[in-house]
Every structure is written in C-alpha cells, then in structure tokens.
Amino acid sequence: MSPARPGTPESKAGIHALWLRACCLTIIAIAATPADAHWSFDTELGVSYDNNLGNARSEDSVGDRALIASVAATQSEYLEHGDSISWGGRIAGERYADFDGLDNLALAAMISYRKKLGLGPFAPWWRASWSSSALAYRDDARNGWLHQAEVGAGKRLSERYNLGLTFRVEQRKAANLQEQGSGLSVDAFSQLSKSLGVNAEYAPDRDMVLSLGAQLRHGDIVSTSHRYRQVFLYSKAIVEDPALGSNVFAYRLTGNTLILNVAMAIFLSPDSCVNIGVQRALTHADGSNNYAKNKLAVSWVGNF
C-alpha cells in the first residue's frame, strides 16, 4: 500500500476520520456521565520551536516552529484515603510553519489510578496510568497508534520542593506501511522504548514554579537524513520521509537518549498559567550515530 502524499484527499481523510472519532467519543463520554459528575477541562495553547525535527545529524537537521493546542477532559473519582481513579480524553494538534507534512492531530484516551500513602500534602504517592492515542499526520506515513504505560511516584518535600519519579514504556505502531520491498523493513515509524525520569520542582514564590527534569530513554528512535552508510548499517527499518524534504529517509535505530527539561510556570490566576519549557535531548544510537535536539515551548494553560 502506498502512503498518501501530503495534502492529498487520502491524507485529509485521515485527519477528518480522527475528528469524527473525537466527536463520537465526546458524545459517548458526555452521555455516559452521571448527572452529578464533574469534568475538568485543561486547555493549552502555545508555540514551539524544534531545531532538529528529524533527530538528524547536524548537517541534516532542520528546524521549524509550530502552533500547539490541546484540550483534555478528565473525570476523577476520589476513593477512601485520598486515592483516586481518573479517566478522560485529550485531543491535541500541532501545525508547523514550513514542514506541513508534520501537522498532526492526536486523540488520546487515558486512565490512571493514584494511591496516596497517608494524609496531608507531604504524604508520598504512587500512580499507574495508561494512555492510547490515535495519531493522524498530514503525511500519512507517520499515522498510527501510541500506547503508553507509566508508573510514577512522588513526594512533596516542603511547600516549595516537590519530587517525582516515573518509569514509562511506550509503543508506537505505524498504521500505514509502504509496500515491502526486498531487504530491510519499511516500518520505520514503529517504535518501542522504556524511559526512567526524575523531576524536581521548586516554587520561589506563590505565583511561580520552576522544574528541572532528566529522563533516560532506551529503545527505538527515528532519524531522518540523507543516505549514510553508517546509518544504513545499523538501521532496523528505512522508509522515505517526504515530510522532511526530498530524498531523505527515516531510519529506525536503537539508541539511548538523555533528555533534560527546564520549565517555568507563571500563574496568572488560580486556574491559568503560562508555561515556558526548554528541552535538550542527546541521543547515542548504534553505530556511533549521535544526535542532539533542542526544543522550546511557550504555552498558556487554563483549567475549567
């Protein structure tokens, strides 16, 4: 099966189908909600810039800015002793300025269970969560499913300091595969990875939270570049990647990535804040294929 090219009726149909699914799920969720239940809505609107969209070597790296928007609807059922079960959905979109093949919508369903080990704000807690997302890109080759299972734990050390740990397993399954040629797989966008992260928060005053996070990720990564023997030799799958230019290919490799996050949240009101985040990711993939990328995002988040 051939992938739909950007802007073709086939690719637009994928996005339209996702919108249709979103509307159907929303109607079902609202209809299934008890009359006294309360939905919490988180809305995010912002811009981002990624200097290496394709996780490529520096000579092949391309950057672009994007508008980002999302709406998440969550319902929580609180149990005894501060435990809770939350479930909901989220629809998120990205629209790129130049690389419009990367424009995408993601529709996610999620559920989590949180256990608090004691009473009060300083009691430790742990959480297990699951989410599944349908991904629809303008360039259909990236379409697919993203499944994430995560366990996390945390403890607030004081009014100002908060600490959290997470372990996540992530599987991305590509939906549209090009025709299999002879030799290497073309399933470059399917990935499996595990990551371990730690995040610390510090609140210098009551209207601001600074956070510092580090994550170690092991598993599949996708790198898009021109043909290089060193990349080819260690690739598990290769496919053309027209979303990032002509004559470039997406390679699936195995690698380790160190991700560092620094973020600042400035509260505008009790229910809204501005988030500014910087992320740096350093990847060491098999065959000494090393990549670095930086990402900046500024967004407004409101809760209703």
Partner: protein
C-alpha cells in the same frame, strides 16, 4: 455588647445577644469600642490578623455562649482563609464546589477528619480547645485555612485596611494580643495592656511577617515527550 464586624448578620445578632448578657453580668453602665490597626514591617496594612482582648476580670465572659460558625470551600479554597471562634464553638464545613473535599487537621488544638463529602453532608466539628487549627484538604493539597480558637469571646479580625473593631467591650482592663499565620514572633510578644472606658480605644501594632507562601496548584502542562 460583643460584636465582630466581619460576622454574617445572624452571627452578629447572636453575638450581640451574647454581648448583652455579658454586659449585664459585668454590671457596667456602658460599653466601648477597641479599634486595632495592624501594619507590617513595610508599613503595609495587614489583613487576617486576629485581635484578641482578654479581660483581666474573667467573670465578664462566664456566661458566654459560643455561636455556630462556617468555613466554606469555594473554588478549591477555604473561605474565609482565617476564621476566629471562641472555644466551645462548632464549625460547619459546607462544600460549595462541585467536587468532593476531604477536610482534615493535624493540629494539637483539634485533630479531625471529614472524609470525602460534598454539599453540607459533613457534621459540624466542635472546637473546644484554644489554639491554632490548620485546615487542609487531602484531595487538593494547596488548600489551606486556619481556625483560631480563642480563649476569650472578645476578638476581631483585620480587614484589607489592616483594621479590626471590637465593639461594645465591657469597660475594664484588658490584655490585647495579635496572631497572624505569617507572624514571625510568638503572639505573646504582641501583648498590650489597655484600660477600656466608654470611649473608643485605639491600639496599633507593627509586626514582622514572613513571606507568605502556599503550595502551588498543579500547572496542568502537558508533556509531549520525546519524538
């Protein structure tokens, strides 16, 4: 008559009845007002400071009958942030949010827990021991509030202008002191002795406050992860 200006109308009425009883017991011909002004180290008015007037003649509040008070939960906050009650008072905790709260306190003056409830289903809590009671919600960790359980029925709380009026005090000698959640020093360091007559008595304090800080609400930011 004892009347505290920030009380709701019903509470003021009941407080007035209590005051009349106290006045009769004290055998006084009139009563007076004590006007307290509180500023911080930067000369800014201090709100939510509790002003307590302890009569040296304790007989004046032998007949004091506490009235019922309320601490609401509105938009995931305790309202008011500081509530002053006389020891022996019951306080109700109506939940005006459309989600459930789990109100608790670890404070030595009153340990209690009102597990998950909505509306007005939680029973009132009796505060019979003087002291500071810190309130929290086990669901929403940023929620914090204070109940100051006073050992005297003569009290007030400063408003935004940093002033509190304790009206209709029986004339006599009082020790007047302050408490505030962010006060650096112990409240005993704020004691002023004053003789209240049938005229308005003015008292002023300048107190050092620590920087006010509360646990922030969650930011709600999404994490797109690594792609």
């Amino acid at each position: 008559m004892v009347a505290i200006k920030h009380f709701p109308i019903m509470n003021r009425f009941l407080a007035g009845v209590l005051g009349v009883m106290l006045m009769g017991l004290a055998g006084t011909a009139g009563a007076a007002e004590l006007l307290a002004t509180v500023r911080d180290q930067k000369a800014k008015p201090v709100s939510d400071a509790v002003v307590l007037a302890m009569p040296l003649d304790r007989k004046v509040f032998d007949l004091a009958r506490p009235v019922r008070h309320v601490v609401d939960q509105v938009n995931k906050e305790f309202v008011p942030y500081v509530r002053v009650v006389f020891a022996g008072t019951s306080v109700s905790f109506p939940n005006k949010d459309n989600i459930r709260h789990h109100v608790y306190s670890f404070s030595p003056a009153k340990k209690f827990e009102l597990a998950l409830y909505s509306g007005v289903s939680a029973p009132p809590v009796l505060f019979d021991k003087a002291g500071v009671v810190v309130l929290g919600c086990n669901i929403h960790d940023w929620m914090i509030g204070y109940i100051y359980v006073a050992d005297t029925p003569f009290f007030g709380k400063t408003e935004k202008e940093g002033q509190a009026s304790l009206e209709n005090l029986p004339p006599g000698d009082y020790q007047v002191r302050l408490w505030h959640p962010d006060m650096e020093k112990d409240e005993q360091a704020t004691v002023q002795r004053v003789t209240v007559t049938d005229k308005t008595t003015n008292l002023a304090w300048t107190i050092a406050l620590k920087p006010s800080f509360r646990i922030p609400r969650p930011t709600g930011a999404s994490s797109s992860g690594y792609r």
